[in-house]
Structures are given as C-alpha cells and as structure tokens.
Amino acid sequence: MKNILIAGFCLLLASSSSSAHADAVTNDSQSLDAVKTYLVDIVQKMDEAGHDFVTNAAAYQAIIDNAQGDYNKAAMEHGVELGELVKKMQADFGIYHNHGYETVEGIVAGTRKMVWFDNYLDGGVPATEASTDSPESPLVLRAKDGTMISNHNGNLFHYVIEPTLWGTRTFFLKKLSPEAQAKLKEEYEASLNTKLNAGPVALPRADVLTAASIDCAAKLDELLQVCKDWQPGLGECIGALVWMTPTLNGYFDDWRDSRYNPVATGHYVAESRVLDMKGIMYSLKVTCDAILPQLQPKNPGLADQLKFEYDNILSFIDRVEQRDAKNGYRMSIPEIEELAEQAKTITDQLQPQLRQMAAILNVEVPEKPTLVTADVPGQK
C-alpha cells in the first residue's frame, strides 16, 4: 500500500511537471492543420479584397466610359469620385498584398502546389530580366477589347497593379490636360481642406485596372481553392521553412543598402523591406509552431531553440525598426553592418537546425519548389 502511495505521488509529480509535454504531443495532421487554417483565413480575406477591387475598378471604368473615354472630361466632372476610388483600390491592395499575400508568402512560395501563384502574383520578373533564379512571369494581360496590356512583363502585383495605382509607370497612366490638372487640384484641396503643392497630373488607365482586377480576383479565387484543397504534409512544411528562411538574408541586404543612403533609396524601401520580412517570417513561424509538437518529445532542446529562433527573428525585425526610428533613420555604418550580420547569424543558424529536425522526424526535405516542378493550375 505504501509503495502504491509513493508511486502515485511520483506519478502525480510526473504528470504535473510534464503536462506541457502531454499537451504538446498532439496528432500530427491536427497540428499541421493550424498552417492550413492560418493560410485559408488570410487568403479568404485577400480574395474578398480582390473582389472589392473588381467592384471599385468597375466603378472607375464606368465613370471613364460615361465620359466616352475622355480622362480630362472625367477628371473635370468626377475628379473627387475618381480620387476616392483610387484610394479604395489602394486600400484593397494593402489588404490582399501588404497584409495579405506578404503574410502567407513563406508558405505559398515554399510549397510546390502553390509556388506558381507566387510567381504569377508577386515574384515573376519581365522576360528581359529573367534568369533561372528569378523566373519570368507568365502574366499575359489583355483589356476587354483585346488590347495587350502586359505580355510576360512582370508579375501582377508589382509590375501592373502597384505602378498603376501609385502612378509610377506612365504606360499605365493617362496624362491630364493643364486645365484638368488645375481643376483636380482645386477639388482635392477643397475636399481635403488643405493647400497642395501639386495635384495629380495623370489618372490610372481604367482598362488596366479593370483587366488587372478581374485577373487578380480570378487568381485569388483559384489560390483560395488550392489552399482549401491542400493537406499540409510534414515534409512540405519543413521544406517551406528550409527554403524560405534564408530569404531573410536577401531582404536584409536590401534593407542594409537602403540604410546607406536613406534619402536617395528612401525610407520607403527600408520600411517595405521590414514589412516583407515580418510577413514572410510570421508565416514561417506559424508553420514551425505547427511542426514543433512533433519534435518536442523527441528533442525538446532543439524544439525550444527553433521556437526561440523564429520568435527572435520577428522580435529582431521589430528591434531593428525601433532602433532605426530612434536614430531618425540615420544609423551609424557599424550599427547597420552589425545588424545585418546578426540577421545573417540567425538565418545561418536555422538551416542546419531545420535539417536536424527533418532527420529526427525521419522526413526527407523536398527539393526547393521551382516553376519547373510546380503544380500549374489547370495543368494537373
């Protein structure tokens, strides 16, 4: 009886202290479902924003069509309305791209089933700039009347939608007459109740926005369906971590370069890089967190370390941003270099440890997903 009491006490001790372990050891596919839930949730929101983009682009198109395609007339008569629609479409872009795609890019670009979408929407470059490392975008965009807008000339987000909405590529814009510019400036000043140094000199082409919005929504529909159908596998998830984590180095190199000349390259680049880094790394952290319950009972030390490393990347990016802001975006060169080196040390550390995790879990790390091996929608 005494023995049983001692044993019971020991068991109680064991069960209380190892309750964390017991909680952690969950069903494999259950733990990976968290990745899918996260992904579907974000892509769902992206898809909704994509369809909102279609609505706003259609409204924009209607105003231009009502003015018989005369952008000066449209600006003179519906200037504020057009401006509002552009703002809405910019906000849509923020949802499906900045706070949408960027936060799932680590998973989408890191898996064979979805990497095609990464190239089409966010990663593909114009055919003239393409290399095996940066493949060309397959995007062929035509207006409703069949006019060619973009033929293998870069991805949808950064080579079509972004330059059209922010007016950085004249091909996607319609220049306004001086009268229309003056009228638009006057109306904007009245609407904002402030004096502007300069008003808009051009408007985005409606046919580009219409075609791009329809294509964007269609592709996001497809991506959503692929995400819903996807059953994340352990190897696939570890592969995404192995292949996408080192991309932090490239982003940090861009960040470092932008810090050397914050005025010329702009705070914008640094800020956008920090956002990109956070987005990608967050999606990888979600993936890693979903895998760790399987590693925890086998090698708790490594599991703790990996958890720390991904948390650390995110907090490191925050600390970098805070430090940058604290110094008025004018860090000393040794500080910039040391930060970049610390970032590199973190990612250098992770790859071998991820491979150890794969070996311990008896999983083969798949090849890096590329367009050659990718699943292409409609070609299965």
Binding site: N3, I4, A7, G8, F9, C10, L11, L13, A14, S15, S16, S17, S18, S19, A20, H21, S131, T132, D133, W243, P246, K298, N299, P300, G301, L302, D304, Q305, F308, N312, R319, R323, N327, S332, I333, P334, E335, E337, E338, L339, E341, Q342, K344, T345, D348, Q349, Q351, P352, Q353, R355, Q356, A359, I360, V365, E367, K368, T370, L371, V372, T373
Partner: protein
C-alpha cells in the same frame, strides 16, 4: 517491496525526471538567449555612440547568470569559462566580443558534461544553443544523441567535440571574412575591430578539455596576436594589418584535417596556382577582357589558393615549422600580388612569372606538387574517384541550395580533372578533352556546363542532366586512359623486352661456350657461367637501385616518366641498332671471344678467373642493365602487376630456352628468333616514341597542335604510338626512318665491303 511495485515506482520516477527538466530547460534557453541578446544590443549601442556606465561589471554579471546551470556539473570546465574575469584593460566592445565567444565554449563544455553523465536531453539542449556557422552539418551528431544506446559512448563525445571544433573553426573564418570585408568597405572603426578581434581570438582559443576530448593529436597553438590597428592609418595599412593578423590566427586553428585531406588540399592548392594564369590567358588578351567567365574562374582560383593556404597553415606550422616561418609570408604576399594582377588585368607575362614563382615555392620549399604521386594507373583511378565524389557533393550542395559550396566542390572536381585527366587525354583525344573540360565550365553550344548552370542557380533537372553529362564525359576519358595504360600492353612490352634481352645474352653465351666444350675447358666454362650469374645478381641490384632512385623522385610524376621514357627510347635505339648493325653484333661478340681467349692465355690463375668472370658478367649485365632501366619506364607508366606478369613469362621462356640450349644442347633457330624479337622491338620503339611525345605534351615540354579532323581509334595510340596531334603523328615514324636508314646503310656498307673484297680477289697480285 515486490517486483511490480518496484517497477511502478521506477516508472513513476522516470516519468518525473522527464517532466522535471521542463522548467529548468525553459529557463536555460531563455537566460542563455537573454544574455546573448543583451550583449548584441549593448554592442549596437556602443556602435551608435551610446556609452553605458559600468559596462564590464554588467557583462560579467550577465555571464554569471548562467552559472547556476553548470555549477552542479562534476567537471567545472564550463563554470570556469563563465567565471574567468574579463580583461579590465580592454574596451567594452572587446569585452563583449570575448563574452560572446565564451558563451559558445561554455555551451560546448556543458553539452559534453551532460553527455558524459547520461543527461542526453541536457546535451541536446546545450548543443542547440551553440551558434552554428553557415552550411554547418549537424545531422549525424544529432542522430547519435537521439539514440540512448549510442549517446553515452566515448566515441560520441569525441564526435561532438570534433563537430564543435569544426563549427567554430568555420565560424572563426566567417568572422574573419566579415571583419576583412568591413575594413575593405571602410565600415570598421576601433570598436568594430576590437569586438571582432576579441571574439575571434577567444573562439579560436579552444578550451584544452575540448581539444582533448576531440582526440586531436596536435594541440592547436593559443591565439594571442592582436591587430596592429590605428584608426588614423591609411586604408592600405588597415587592410594589411588585418590580413597579417588573419594569417596569425589561421595558423593557430586546430588541424582537423586527415592525412588524405591534407594531401588533397595541397594538390588542390598547387593546381589552383597553376590554373590561374591559364584561365586568365583564355579570358584576357592584351589587357582586354574577352571572356568574363574565364577571368572570373581565374579570380576564383586565386581566392581559393589564398583560402587553402590559410586552411593548411596550422598543418604546415606544426609539420614544417622552419619552412613555414621562412616562406609563408612570401607565399601569402605573392598570392596577394596575384590577386592584384588579376584585378588590374595585368600582362600575361607578369601573371605567368608570378604563377611560376608561387609554384616554385610550393614545390621546392613545401614539397607540394599538383600531380598525385604514384603510377599513372592508380593516379587515374584515384582522381576519377575524387572527381566523381566532388561532383556528387557539388550536386548535393546545389540541391540544398548551398550554391557557394556547390561551386567550391565543382572547382575541386575541375582542378583534379584538369591536372590529372585532361592533361593526359589532350594528346590522345583533343576533342574529348575539350568537350569534357567545357562540360565543367560553360558547356558547348547545345548544353550549358555545370559552372554556367550553378551561376544561374538552375533548376535541379537541368543541373542533374549537366552533372550526368560531365560524368559520362569523364567515363569516356577514363576509358581512353585505361586503354592507354592497359595491363595487357604493359605485360606484352615487358615480355618482349625481357625475352629479347635474355635471348641476346643466351645467344652470346652459347656462342662463347660453343668453343669451350670438353673437360679441359671445364674451369673456363665455370668462370664464364659464374660471371653470368654475377651479372644476373648485379642486374637485380641495378633494378632495385634504379627503382629506389626513381621512387624518391616520384613526386615529379609524369615529368619523371618523361625523362625515364627518353632513356628507354635510347635503350631501344641501341637494341635495334644491335639487330641491324652487324658491326655491333660482330664487334661485341668478337670482343668477348678475344677476352675469353686471352683469359685462357694468362698464366696467373687469379687473373684468368677474373677475366672469365668479367666475360660472363659483361655478357649478361649489358643486357640486364638495359632491361632494368627499360622496365622502370614501364613501371612508371603501367601497373607493377602487369610488368611482373610480362617479365615473369619472359623469364620462364628464357629458362626453358636456357635449359634446352645449355642442358640439352638443342640447336634452336636463333637467327629467326632474333629477327622476330627484333621486329617486335622496332614496333615497341615506335609506340614508345609516340608515348614519349605524348608524355612530353602532358607535362608541357612539347606543344600540342591537335588535328581535330582526325579521329583515331584507341588502339592506334596503344600499338602504333600514333595520337591525333601533328607532333604525335610526325615524330614516331621517324623511328622507322632511322631503323630503315640504318638497315640500308648497313646493307650498302656490306655490299661495298663485299664488292671491294671480290675486286681484290679478282685483281692479280
């Protein structure tokens, strides 16, 4: 307490012990990373110009926060590392550098302590905290610690300790690269230099305990040198100061290389140095860049050379301290100059000259050659294995996206191929040599080569196809070289030469002994036969001596083979001359006869004996000497076994012949045998001249002017000595011209002598 309840209690205790470390584990990880983060942030503050008061005390107390985790360990090594006071005279940046490195050493020591005491999860946890270098490989040791049956073995401790030394040696090199880069881009100030310098020195000074467990026989030296840094010095002085210091640090790093690694790396160094001017000549002409890929390749070889010197420095310092002290600075200086010449697109002559000077230092002082020592057959086998393994490693690295590692292994494969295989294939089949070389580099028009694809980070399918293509080209080259050194050819040649020389000796001896039949000549015969046996003995000694001398020169590889080949050709010319030039044959024979006669005329028995011994000795040794030297050439070019088999069969043949002749007095068709072996010797001579031309081309003593339009089957080189280059086609037939000329000359002289004689007979006195 019954057995079941005992088991229950044990099980419960075991479960409790698994559960218990959860809290302390989380604390260790958090505290360890907390210390690291604080050190990193403080360093950034220092770089940004913020100064904190009482920083050294803060750093020390940070490290002390980790002490409770190691205090309970029986071995105090990890606690000692954390306890060691920081040098008070150092700047705060320098102290942070030291503290960062100490964290790594402490984690490694704690890991080993846990492993030793059976706390494998503790070992795993400490191991996971160690900062890894880029491209570290940690899978094997991780799996060892996963297996409780293996994890406690001393071999595992050794593997873990070695792994740590490897990681941190790599980290030291990466930090050195970082520091040099910071200095090069003018981003380094006093703080940057001191932080990195102290981190590197501390990391490079491995705790003795670790080195001991790793089982290193050579204790690495302690890194103490500091950088002669001056913030106000000019850029060049700063770069030089860090570069000189790096050399010092590199030489103190532990030698983790095996003997075969050292040999491979030394050969690679010699090859890289040789290849720099060559690649440069392909990429740059008259100071103008023609093919960027080739120039890049040359620069890469130069960088690789510098890196290899750094990696080999600890080995040289321990194994050749005097040579190292005297020539290492010169070597590094010249390699620096080489890089400068490449950067400035200097003249080819300057580059050639400097390349030769560096090669001379490596060859004469450090005794390093690009070629593998040993006979060609083995060298080819070993090189093919090396190339295949490097290519396999390169593809695996590419598959893991480790592009620089993939490229570095491709370069290893290429340099081995270029020096050992391509140089041998080029005179034999220039098309194949060119195609195979291109497959390592940019490829041909239809398919990109490995280098070009790695540069593009090409998809795996394309890369795999390129590696497959190169391996198939390599297989073709091997096939070709295998044929050229095939044991059958070597065996046949050995048989022919030994049989021929032996036959000559037998014939002469037979002729000598023919007139010495009968009991009265018994002692004369004994003398001659004794001399013949002595000749055989001295032949064996000559063979051994020449083999020993040649063996001592084996590092000269094919250069030695080429020189010995020339001797072999000379011997063959003498032998063929003997066949067709009656004067030699008759002259030598009559000289021996007269010697033997005069020996019999001498009164003194002692002199008589000596003279008779001399006759027998000279008869055999003359042939034996030629044969011994000739066989050296065969031994260098082919395998020992083939030479022994060929010679063995010839010896058997001679024994039978000797027995028939001397024992049973059988009259054999000596003349026919002589003519037959004579013709074989002529064919061998042509083949040998062809191979000698090829060897001269292989070692760059003779130019190669390939005839691309000609495609010879392999046997033409093997049996006729013909290779598709102008030199290979024109020089070997000269042997036929010589033999034919000698024969015609001989005939003309005989006819002239005969007609003179008959004229004398017909002329009345």
């Amino acid at each position: 307490m019954n057995r079941v309840s005992k088991k229950i209690i044990l099980l419960a205790l075991w479960l409790a012990t698994i559960g218990l470390p959860a809290v302390s584990r989380a604390n260790l990880s958090g505290d360890f990373h907390g210390v690291q983060s604080r050190l990193n942030d403080t360093l950034l503050d220092i770089y940004s110009g913020e100064s904190e008061t009482n920083l050294p005390a803060q750093i020390s107390s940070s490290l002390a926060a980790l002490k409770p985790y190691v205090e309970g360990y029986s071995d105090p090594a990890a606690a000692d590392v954390l306890d060691e006071p920081l040098p008070a005279q150092l700047s705060s940046a320098g102290q942070i550098g030291i503290a960062r490195a100490r964290l790594e050493h402490a984690a490694a020591l704690a890991m080993l302590q846990c492993q030793k005491t059976g706390n494998y999860s503790g070992a795993q946890q400490w191991r996971a905290l160690i900062t890894l270098p880029q491209f570290a490989n940690g899978v094997d040791s991780a799996m060892l610690l996963q297996n409780p049956e293996l994890a406690g073995k001393p071999e595992v401790a050794q593997t873990l300790a070695k792994e740590y030394l490897e990681w941190e040696t790599m980290r030291v090199r990466q930090l050195l690269d970082f520091l040099q880069q910071q200095v090069a881009i003018k981003a380094a100030d006093q703080n940057v230099v001191e932080a990195n310098e102290n981190e590197i020195i501390t990391l490079a000074s491995f705790p003795a305990e670790l080195v001991k467990i790793a089982g290193l026989t050579n204790n690495p030296a302690v890194a103490t040198a500091t950088i002669a840094w001056n913030d106000s010095a000019d850029q060049k002085q700063k770069v030089d100061a860090v570069s000189t210091w790096r050399d010092e640090i590199e030489s103190t790093l532990p030698n983790l290389l095996s003997a075969s690694d050292i040999g491979r790396m030394q050969r690679l160094l010699a090859r890289c140095v040789t290849l720099v001017p060559r690649e440069y000549s392909h990429g740059v002409a008259d100071g103008k860049l023609i093919i960027p890929l080739e120039l890049r390749e040359a620069k890469q070889f130069a960088d690789e050379s510098q890196m290899l010197v750094n990696q080999l420095a600890p080995v040289w310092k321990q194994e050749q301290p005097k040579v190292y002290a005297q020539y290492r600075p010169e070597l590094t200086g010249k390699l620096d100059n080489l890089q400068d010449l490449l950067a400035n697109l200097a003249s080819q002559d300057d580059l050639d000259r400097l390349g030769k000077q560096i090669s001379a230092i490596l060859e004469d002082k450090f005794k390093i050659t690009a070629r593998r020592p040993g006979d060609s057959g083995d060298v080819i086998d070993e090189t093919v294995l090396e190339v295949r393994s490097s290519l396999g490693g390169s593809l695996a690295a590419a598959q893991s996206e480790q592009w620089s590692s993939a490229e570095s292994q491709r370069m290893d494969a290429y340099t081995a191929f270029d020096t050992e295989i391509e140089a041998r294939v080029l005179p034999r089949n220039p098309d194949l040599a060119r195609a195979a070389e291109r497959s390592f580099l940019e490829g041909d028009g239809s398919q990109l080569g490995i280098k070009a694809l790695l540069d593009r980070h090409a998809p795996m399918e394309q890369l795999s196809a390129a590696y497959e293509h190169t391996l198939s080209e390599l297989a073709q080259c091997t096939e070709l070289l295998k044929v050229a050194v095939s044991p059958a050819t070597i065996g046949f040649t050995a048989f022919t030469i030994v049989a021929r020389e032996g036959l000559e000796a037998i014939i002469i001896l037979t002729a000598l002994l023919a007139g010495l039949r009968g009991v009265e000549y018994a002692s004369t015969r004994k003398g001659i036969v004794g001399g013949a046996w002595m000749g055989l003995l001295v032949t064996a000694i000559t063979f051994w001596l020449s083999r020993t001398i040649i063996h001592s020169l084996i590092r000269f590889g094919e250069k030695l083979e080429a020189v010995v080949s020339v001797f072999a050709v000379i011997i063959l010319i003498i032998v063929t001359n003997w066949v067709f030039h009656r004067v030699y044959w008759v002259g030598w024979n009559s000289k021996l006869r007269s010697l033997s006669k005069s020996a019999q005329d001498v009164q003194s028995t002692r002199w008589e004996w000596l003279a008779l011994l001399g006759v027998g000795f000279l008869t055999v040794y003359r042939e034996g000497f030629e044969m011994a030297l000739f066989l050296q050439s065969l031994l260098l070019e082919g395998s020992k076994k083939a030479v022994m088999v060929g010679s063995g069969i010839a010896v058997l043949f001679l024994i039978v012949l000797g027995a028939l002749t001397f024992q049973y007095g059988v009259k054999l068709p000596y003349r026919k045998l002589m003519v037959l072996t004579g013709l074989l010797v002529v064919s061998i001579m042509i083949t040998f001249i062809g191979s000698t031309v090829r060897l001269f081309q292989t070692v760059n003593w003779l130019p190669i002017h390939p005839v691309y339009t000609l495609h010879f089957p392999n046997w033409t080189g093997l049996w006729l000595g013909l290779y598709p280059s102008w030199e290979g086609l024109l020089i070997p037939p000269l042997a036929l011209v010589y033999v034919g000329g000698a024969w015609l000359f001989n005939r003309w002289r005989s006819q002239k002598a005969e007609s003179g004689l008959s004229a004398a007979r017909t002329t009345p006195a």
